[in-house]
């Protein structure tokens, strides 16, 4: 950065840290290790790195270039950045996704971020001290069920904090937050990774060495390497981890001057995200969970609630085993690092929305920040109030998954085939501080679009299934089929009988499951299985309860349909604002 500009980046390091902060999110710590376990362990790294080279890096080059090009024309949000590359109206409306995604993702992401802030507080207050594992897990269940007003308070604190930082502008707010957040994230991550790897069997209640978890995670299963599903999972992970297809990278890089580098910056931010994911992300959650629960116990927990469940329902309990002081420090470090990973990403979601309002409707920085805050509050309210009805997941699916692929697919076609690879290549190399290998010219033109098209085509069956509510319909069909339920119950009972800490009388509802747990008679995985079997037994024997379960599934489908309607209205609303802005520009010109 040659010049400090009030509306631009204060320093190059600040820009790279903010870009890396944008990419590094909760998924680096909670999603990546789970994806690796489910897709061949150590062998997953091969498709992961190939997808990083063929899709991640090319798209980073493309998004940084598109952003800087648009910025030189005075645009900082994708609708008008794309418009500056090709005047056909289609591209402006494709660019709407670059604002829509940020708003819709921020709406649920800020809620997730607020859980981490709340858990930092509860770690300091030692709220998990003396609790059993199911009690810690139930604490989370009660939290998202809004048992108290606390989740709403922390959510509002989080929204206000984001709004306040955004109102301070790019260099005064976002960049400062990244300069504080990213180093702290790395320090917390390094501390936890060290503790996890050096966890020894027999110490602080651990049953196994932490390295057992690391070995389990990274033992390669090469038979999976030719499985298309594994490659699709790797491509998906690269997509989400790098924050590509969102419109935030383009916005950040639109403040880079024409003569300044983007190639080295893009590589540095991209690899920094890779380091956090591969080196730190894999060395915390799985080694600690395996150290205390064993491989089977950890797998059972993953099948229950994935990485999110493991991170919020189990880790706070396991940290407590390290002693009260170290337990508090570990809790603060874990949820603190998740918070910094979250906030540096949510801030990046605010900028494209704010800059659209500033550029096209002459809004002031503060007003634009407040508009973003209010919009996120209104859009996010259904995800908070109806979390258990699947609204949160519905937002995540459409805005945080499908939209990203659509935007990235269109933008690479725009860059490589409409704007043209000759000009595109010049854009990437303009002011570059590294020599970009010429092979990327061909990868961007041919390989990345094909790969993206493949990802999109393979996602279509899942999209159709989601639209049809197949999962809810399957559940209803299950509740209506007595034979299927009986079969499932028999399977669960067989599993339970294999467990050494299980006794058949534990299935009787007269025995309190909480008492069994408090008295340490059963392990957490046995507790979960008994709970599941008791629930199924109740559905089979109590007709009113069975009907209420079916009604609940129908209610969830209704809430999901309403969420889709809301997201559609949001997209149309933004498209209308884009239309108004372009009409304003036309009138000004004439």
């Amino acid at each position: 950065m040659a010049l400090k500009d009030s509306s631009g980046w204060g320093s190059r390091v600040g820009l790279v840290l903010a870009m890396a902060g944008n990419a590094v999110g909760l998924g680096n710590f909670l999603r990546f290790p789970v994806q690796a376990i489910e897709n061949g362990g150590g062998a997953f790294i091969i498709p992961y790195l190939v997808c990083f080279l063929l899709m991640g890096i090319p798209l980073l080059f493309v998004e940084w270039s598109i952003g800087r090009f648009g910025g030189s024309k005075g645009h900082h949000s994708t609708p008008f950045i794309f418009d500056s590359m090709d005047k056909r109206a289609l591209w402006k409306y494709v660019g709407v996704f670059g604002i829509f995604t940020n708003l819709a993702v921020a709406a649920y992401y800020c809620y997730l971020e607020s859980w981490t802030l709340s858990y930092v507080w509860h770690s300091i207050a030692d709220s998990f001290g003396g609790k059993t594992q199911p009690e810690v897990a139930n604490f989370f269940g009660n939290y998202v069920s809004l048992g108290t007003i606390e989740p709403i308070i922390f959510w509002l604190i989080c929204l206000l904090l984001n709004t306040w930082i955004l109102s301070k502008g790019l260099s005064g707010g976002v960049e400062k937050a990244a300069k504080i957040g990213m180093p702290l994230l790395l320090i917390f991550g390094a501390f936890l990774a060290f503790k996890a790897i050096t966890l020894r069997a027999g110490e602080n209640g651990a049953l196994y060495d932490g390295t057992l978890g690391l070995n389990f995670l990274w033992t390669p299963d090469y038979s999976t390497i030719w499985d298309a599903k594994v490659w699709l999972a790797a491509a998906g992970q690269i997509f989400f981890t790098l924050s590509i297809g969102m419109g935030s990278i383009q916005c950040y890089s639109s403040f880079v001057k024409r003569k300044d580098d983007i190639a080295l910056n893009a590589m540095s931010a991209g690899w920094m995200n890779g380091f956090v994911e591969i080196v730190l992300g894999s060395a915390i959650i799985i080694p600690i969970a395996v150290g205390y629960l064993g491989i089977d116990g950890m797998k059972e927990l993953l099948s229950e609630g994935g990485g999110l469940g493991l991170g919020f329902k189990t880790l706070p309990y396991l940290f407590e085993q390290w002693g009260s002081l170290l337990g508090v420090i570990a809790g603060v470090a874990w949820f603190g690092l998740l918070f910094f990973a979250g906030i540096t990403s949510s801030l990046a979601m605010g900028m494209p929305v704010m800059d659209f309002l500033k550029d096209k409707f002459n809004w002031k920085e503060k007003n634009a920040a407040w508009a973003f805050g209010v919009a996120v509050f209104l859009l996010g309210l259904p995800t908070v109030l109806f979390f258990n009805n699947g609204v949160f997941d519905e937002y995540d699916y459409w805005a945080g998954t499908v939209s990203l692929v659509i935007l990235a697919l269109f933008e690479i076609i725009l860059f490589a085939w409409i704007f043209g690879m000759k000009d595109g290549w010049n854009e990437i190399n303009q002011g570059a501080d590294i020599k970009v290998p010429v092979i990327f010219k061909y990868i961007i033109k041919y390989v990345t679009p094909i790969l993206l098209g493949w990802v999109f085509i393979n996602s279509i069956p899942d999209i159709v299934s989601t639209i049809n509510h197949d999962k809810s319909k399957e559940n209803i069909a299950f509740y209506e089929n007595a034979n299927e339920m009986k079969k499932k119950s028999e399977e669960q009972q067989k599993l339970l009988l294999k467990k050494s800490d299980f006794k058949p009388e534990y299935l009787s509802s007269t025995t309190s499951i909480e008492k069994l747990d408090t008295n340490k008679l059963i392990s957490f995985s046995t507790y979960l299985l008994i709970k599941k079997e008791r629930e199924l037994s109740k559905i089979m024997t109590d007709n009113n309860y069975r009907i209420s379960k079916i009604q609940s599934e129908n209610k969830n489908m209704l809430f999901k349909n309403i969420s889709r309607g809301l997201l559609l209205i949001l997209w149309i609303g933004i498209a209308y604002l884009v239309y108004l802005a372009s009409r304003k520009i036309k009138l000004k010109k004439s």
């Binding site: 990274w218 690899w271 380091f275 591969i278």
Partner: protein, 38 residues
Amino acid sequence: MMLVTEIFVTIITVYFFLKILKTPSKQEPDSFSENDAE
């Protein structure tokens, strides 16, 4: 293999970040028009 990958990723990350720190900033163009889009 994983250890090699992790060392490789760490080295590349440090290399690029150091290069950012060491590369001198570019001089501003003499005239305002030079900073315009081409």
